[in-house]
């Protein structure tokens, strides 16, 4: 597992040993074992089985794999929404188990896969909720906890970045899937996090917005120094926009590395158990995945 991206991790290790005090990985995952509580009676079937990897700061990492490969569970462990039976997850050098809920929320912003909205909060209200982990002490304990002008400015900025500012007054219950998704990303950005975790960020988006999300994520990395980890089914999106890709199958890492290394015919066919075509994107030169057509052997 750890030998997957030897050259890269070797380099990083060198940096680690030279400056031990300063954490150099955004995430450090060590021999993670995980399964859900309800599955504990069964003696086998770990959802995540002995996972170890590191995520560099200012990196866009894509997690891919077939259904049930443990992608979403891994994201939940990184967000500390679930805790592993064994193993350690470190965030900027600190063990997740030792971090407070607020502290965690100031560093990690999470965009859930499907967020069904029941209450008609406006888009602006929803994004502003991202400022909650930064709240100052409510001195009189009145429960109002008014947001400061700075909070509003940051929320506004996040809404502008995600192109939902014109929807500010609309109720989140009335938004289209794409608008809602962008609102949720804006809320995570309003947390001013260092790490952004996204579960299927483009699942409900049309082509235009898929491209926009992809380029926004890259821009966030460059301009705000964000580390972005996203789970996706869309191999092409991941290939175009991620620095590194982690390919999971049955709770184990199959490959981890740059798109050329992971989006590769042999690995994909092994994991997805079907035929795929991989060629080069005509503009970027990055790998491009095509499903077999109906006239091709192995297709249909």
């Amino acid at each position: 597992m750890s030998g997957v991206s030897n050259s890269q991790s070797g380099e990083l290790e060198k940096r680690c040993t030279t400056s031990e005090v300063k954490p150099c990985y955004a995430y450090e995952v060590q021999s993670l074992l995980f399964r859900y509580q309800s599955m504990e009676s069964m003696s086998h079937n770990w959802i995540l089985n002995d996972l170890s990897f590191q995520v560099d700061e200012r990196e866009v990492l894509g997690i891919v794999g077939p259904n049930g490969s443990g992608k979403t569970s891994l994201l939940k462990l990184l967000a500390r929404l679930a805790s592993p039976q064994q193993g350690v997850v470190r965030l900027f050098g600190r063990d997740l188990t030792g971090m407070g809920q607020d502290e965690m929320a100031r560093v990690v912003g999470v965009v859930p896969q499907e967020s069904q909205q029941l209450f008609p909060f406006t888009v602006a209200e929803t994004v502003l909720m991202g400022r909650f982990p930064h709240r100052s002490r409510d001195r009189w304990g009145t429960g109002f906890g008014w947001e400061s002008g700075e909070d509003v400015a940051i929320a506004e900025d996040a809404m502008t970045t995600m192109d939902v500012i014109h929807l500010a007054q609309r109720a989140v219950t009335d938004l289209s899937g794409g608008e809602r998704q962008r609102t949720m990303i804006a809320r995570a950005l309003a947390q001013t996090p260092k790490v952004l975790l996204l579960d299927e960020p483009t699942a409900f988006l049309d082509l235009q917005h898929q491209v926009e999300i992809g380029s926004v994520l890259r821009r966030l990395k460059v301009e705000r120094g964000l580390t972005v980890i996203l789970v996706s089914h869309d191999l092409n999106l991941v290939s175009q926009y991620c620095d590194r890709i982690l390919l999971l199958d049955q709770g184990r890492i199959v490959r981890l590395g740059c798109p050329e290394h992971v989006i590769e015919q042999g690995a994909l066919e092994l994991v997805y158990r079907c035929r795929v075509l991989v060629d080069r994107h005509p503009e970027t030169g990055l790998p491009r995945v095509t499903l077999p057509g109906r006239c091709m052997p192995g297709g249909a």
Binding site: A105, L118, F132, F144, E150, D157, V216, R224
Partner: protein, 382 residues
């Protein structure tokens, strides 16, 4: 998509540099300002609702088996406030005074606070259970409280119903017992999933209702009639010392509940999201549930099972003013209090001198609303 800037602060520089840009920015600023809850909007709406509550309470004091003229009413109220000793020469005025100050006023005040409490608890439970149909009765705490009081009656705590101080205490004990059972059952797993909590409430409600029916059926007819009326929800005129006790208790519990207003916004987004936004959800849920049970137990012991206020009022208020709990919670409390004062006045006067249990009126108003929600707003229900 536009260029992001690292923080919002540098914008003020941009404002000064280019007027056109500045205009666009301030436009956007006002767009956001209009879309969020501001202090001035909060004060305006709560002010209007408070004013309405005062006006409605005066109307409620006016109506009764025998209406009291408004002029007379104001004079008597002012007199009571300035502790002016009434002249004992006029017997009729004395009777009016007693009716107003000893019977109607405490009952109207009690109605207001009971309504406030029910609506507040409704708001809180709807947010926490993420279920627009949640109501103080969902957890089974109210039927637990009712069962406690029914057991009190069975053991002979007073022949005149609710006259005895022991009954509210019994009701409260029952409410707490129900809460402990709900909580124990729901927390048998490591965490507290919301659907198992709802289910536990439903089961407890069924069991408690059966036991209450059983107790009612073996009581002698006189007492079982009183119990039926109380179970349907009835406000009575409390003594002032009793009233003050209830008001102080409810005020403290509600203020503690109100401290969670901003956290409720986040909790309403769902448990996982709330955790990623920095809320210790288990702790927040625990404290909110306990406060909820304290309020519900006390309310049930003084007024029986007044249903639907906790469901209808928060829902209607949310449709009118939005979902931010910092406005929704106090506004619903005011509307709930006003609504129950009005409903109770109808209960007193519709077929006076006979009184209808106020629970029947709230149920008749709330039932159709419930059906409307189920049929036409399916999309909003979990």
């Amino acid at each position: 998509m536009k260029q992001p800037s690292v923080t919002g602060a540098p914008r003020s520089c941009a404002d000064r540099l280019s007027g056109g840009q500045g205009a666009v920015v301030s436009d956007r600023g006002s767009l956001v300002q209009e879309a969020i809850l501001t202090r001035s909007r909060l004060i305006l709406i709560l002010g209007l609702l408070s004013l309405t509550a005062v006006v409605v309470s005066l109307v409620c004091l006016h109506f009764g088996a025998q209406p009291i003229a408004y002029g007379e009413m104001f004079r008597l109220l002012m007199g009571a406030m300035t502790r002016e000793q009434p002249g004992t020469d006029d017997a009729a005025a004395d009777i009016t005074r007693t009716i107003l100050l000893q019977i109607r006023l405490p009952r109207v005040l009690l109605g207001f606070f009971v309504g406030c409490s029910l609506a507040s608890v409704g708001v809180v439970l709807q947010a926490l259970l993420r279920n627009p149909l949640a109501d103080p009765y969902v957890l089974g705490v109210s039927s637990g409280a009712a069962l406690g009081a029914a057991l009190g009656v069975l053991c002979g705590a007073g022949t005149t119903f609710l006259a005895e101080a022991a009954l509210p205490a019994c009701g409260f004990a029952g409410g707490i017992m129900a809460l402990v059972i709900v909580y124990r059952m729901a927390t048998s797993a490591e965490r507290l999933p919301i659907h198992s909590l709802l289910l536990t409430g439903v089961i407890l409600n069924a069991i408690f209702s059966a036991l209450i029916m059983f107790i009612t059926s073996i009581l002698d007819p006189n007492r079982s009639y009183g119990m039926m009326a109380w179970l349907m929800g009835t406000l009575t005129s409390p003594t002032y010392s009793g009233l003050v006790g209830v008001l102080v208790y409810l005020s403290i519990s509600l203020l503690l509940l109100f401290r969670q207003m901003r956290a409720l916004n986040i909790l309403a987004l769902g448990e996982e999201t709330a955790r990623t936004l920095g809320i210790d959800t288990e702790r927040a849920k625990r404290s909110i549930f306990i406060l909820t049970a304290l309020v519900t137990g006390a309310v049930v012991s003084v007024s029986g099972m007044i249903g639907f206020i906790g469901m209808v009022v928060p829902h209607a208020v949310r449709l009118a003013i939005g979902a931010d709990h910092r406005l929704l919670l106090p506004a619903s409390a005011l509307v709930g209090g006003t609504f129950l004062m009005g409903a109770d006045t109808m209960a007193r006067t519709l077929i006076a001198p006979t009184e209808i249990p106020v629970g029947i009126i709230t149920a008749l108003a709330g039932g159709p609303f419930f059906v409307y929600l189920l049929l036409w707003r399916k999309d909003r229900l979990a």
